[in-house]
């Protein structure tokens, strides 16, 4: 640490440049992780709000909620204590009399079951055609009392309330009655046993014990989310970019320190001639990498925090502090790994040559 720190103090520009590169890389890693986080959130936040453990869909639907359909009678026969029936249709809603259009997931629920969201503004729906909307729609110019025209349907809906964090597969959710969804989907409501819904959401940690008919499939909630269109490919792509950045960081700092080490071969040789061990020199190189990476990560963190404060809400970046700390730690670790390129060079330095013997 002594050698590392003193060298950095005496060659400030050189080391500031390296810290600069590391800062930008940290910044990129942090923003990408924020983006991965934000995009994942867009897909799953409504489902996370349900606090559910599993979902029953038809086997045919391949875990796709809107492709699954079952009768209310079938749904009622599923023997779970905490269950909630759900109907959903993906549609485009237009604010009546304007050109404001938005893809939405109109989701039918029972008011008395656990899928009922907390209303953050306005009131709950009292009857059919009234909806509680995801409050991200407010940014698009929708407000309480607005009438919505639904594509491919005569049905008009009216916003009576807003709820927070209600996006399903990136589409804002409109919560309403099951009858309303049926009306939009099939043109008529049918609340009898033969009425069609999409699935049953289950809140029970021991859901594996629940028996369902063979044409149905009980899916734990996490695979259900991972199966949403685009969710997993998106996540894998972004995660891959982050992991690849770590490799780049390791190689980049490895090259920097390798070049610096090559420059110092003769002085390291003299030190070895004096009896200073290779281990001491290696430790100082690793310590230097650690310091550089630490400064880089801290600066990157500050930069990210500043960016986060000024980010418009349309950008789906969500910074998760514990995750950033985790990534920062990995960053420092892989940087230190990169410095190991120089170890062999230091070990091989022959003090006899260094002093011109």
């Amino acid at each position: 640490m002594f050698l590392a720190w003193n060298e950095m103090k005496s060659a400030k520009l050189r080391f500031l440049l390296i810290i600069g590169v590391l800062t930008l890389m940290t910044y990129l890693v942090f923003l990408l992780s924020g983006l991965a986080n934000g995009l994942a959130e867009m897909n799953r936040e409504a489902v996370d709000q349900w606090k559910a453990d599993a979902i029953v869909l038809t086997d045919e639907s391949d875990m796709n909620l809107s492709q699954s359909s079952m009768t209310l009678h079938e749904a009622q026969r599923i023997s779970a204590e905490h269950k909630a029936e759900i109907a959903q249709i993906l549609a485009v809603a237009r604010k009546s009399g304007t050109k404001i259009k938005e893809s939405v997931a109109i989701t039918g629920i029972h008011k008395d079951q656990f899928l009922m969201p907390n209303v953050s503004e306005g009131r709950s729906f009292r009857g059919d055609h009234e909806v509680i909307a995801d409050d991200s729609l407010k940014a698009d110019g929708l407000k309480l009392g607005d009438r919505l025209t639904i594509s491919s349907s005569e049905q008009k809906l009216v916003i009576v309330g807003f709820t927070k964090k209600a996006k399903f597969n990136a589409a804002p959710v409109l919560y309403t009655t099951i009858a309303t969804v049926q009306k939009i989907k099939y043109g008529k409501t049918d609340t009898s046993d033969k009425g069609i819904i999409n699935g049953v959401v289950i809140r029970d940690p021991y859901f594996t014990k629940i028996k369902v008919p063979s044409s149905f499939k009980l899916t734990p909630i996490e695979p259900f989310i991972e199966h949403m269109p685009g969710y997993t490919p998106q996540k894998i792509s972004l995660d891959f970019m982050i992991y690849f950045l770590f490799v780049i960081v390791s190689v980049t700092i490895g090259i920097f320190l390798y070049v610096l080490t090559i420059q110092k071969v003769s002085i390291f040789g003299v030190m070895k001639a004096q009896g200073i061990s290779s281990l001491f020199l290696i430790r100082s190189v690793i310590a230097q990498t650690f310091l550089l990476a630490l400064f880089g990560v801290c600066a990157g963190f500050i930069l990210t925090a500043v960016t986060g404060a000024f980010l418009p809400s349309a950008v789906p970046i969500q910074l998760d502090i514990p995750a950033l700390i985790g990534y920062g730690a990995i960053f420092i670790f892989v940087a230190a790994l990169g410095s190991l390129f120089s170890v062999q060079t230091i070990v091989k330095i022959d003090p006899v040559q260094a002093i011109g013997g």
Binding site: F2, L3, V270, K272, A273, I276, S277, F280, I355
Partner: protein, 230 residues
């Protein structure tokens, strides 16, 4: 016991037709309190002799004992520890770390080794060498002579029993050169060290106890002041 004892040591490079003898079979010893000069032209094997004497490289044949420890039988790590503990190098190429201030050069030695000079001894050493006001400076800000004196101070600072100096007075003016040699002689006598310096400056030999010449790898004793003196 001799501080340095070289027995039947020789050094050859290459093999067959291309074999070069850098050091012919050599017997050499340095006792406590001896200041020894080795004089020779460049390419004569001075550096090979010095690096073998200091345990930096092993001879092809023979053995080297520093303070009774046979360094030729040891691995690089152990030899490195012996160099740190027993040997002080004063090298021709300045052995200062460019990014450490003079004061930090000594602190570095404190980091890697115990039993160095205390503050008082160090202050006295720096004063003797006339570098007590340079402690905050970096090697790049020092003149050649100042660097050389710092290098000498650094070699003495670790209290080695054997001092190996390669042209220690090369970049010093005559007065300063004599002062440095006198100081080395005094240090050698007072603290019972052995000092071997490789030089081509004949004027300095009068301060030495023994003078050797080295020509084409062959070392021979030319004067032994210890025996001449009463």
């Amino acid at each position: 016991m001799s501080i340095l004892n070289i027995q039947n040591a020789s050094k050859t490079y290459g093999s067959g037709h291309t074999q070069v003898t850098a050091l012919k079979t050599t017997q050499f010893s340095a006792e406590k309190g001896e200041l020894i000069a080795v004089i020779g032209p460049s390419g004569s094997g001075k550096s090979t002799f010095l690096t073998i004497a200091g345990g930096l490289q092993n001879p092809t044949n023979g053995s080297v004992l520093i303070n009774g420890q046979e360094v030729t039988k040891l691995g690089e790590r152990k030899r490195s520890m012996i160099r740190l503990k027993e040997v002080g190098f004063i090298l021709q190429a300045s052995n200062l770390v460019p990014y450490l201030s003079v004061d930090n050069q000594f602190r570095l030695l404190d980091k890697v080794k115990k039993g160095n000079m205390n503050q008082q001894e160090k202050a006295q050493l720096l004063k003797q060498l006339g570098i007590e006001n340079l402690t905050k400076k970096y090697p790049a800000d020092l003149s050649g002579g100042e660097k050389q004196r710092v290098a000498i101070a650094k070699a003495l600072y670790t209290n080695p029993s054997l001092i190996l100096a390669d042209e220690p007075t090369a970049s010093l003016d005559s007065n300063r050169a004599f002062e440095v040699i006198k100081m080395l002689a005094q240090e050698t006598k007072e603290k019972n060290k052995a000092t071997i310096m490789v030089t081509h400056d004949n004027r300095l030999t009068k301060y030495c106890d023994k003078v050797y010449t080295i020509v084409d790898g062959g070392l021979s004793l030319v004067s032994d002041n210890l025996q001449i003196r009463p």
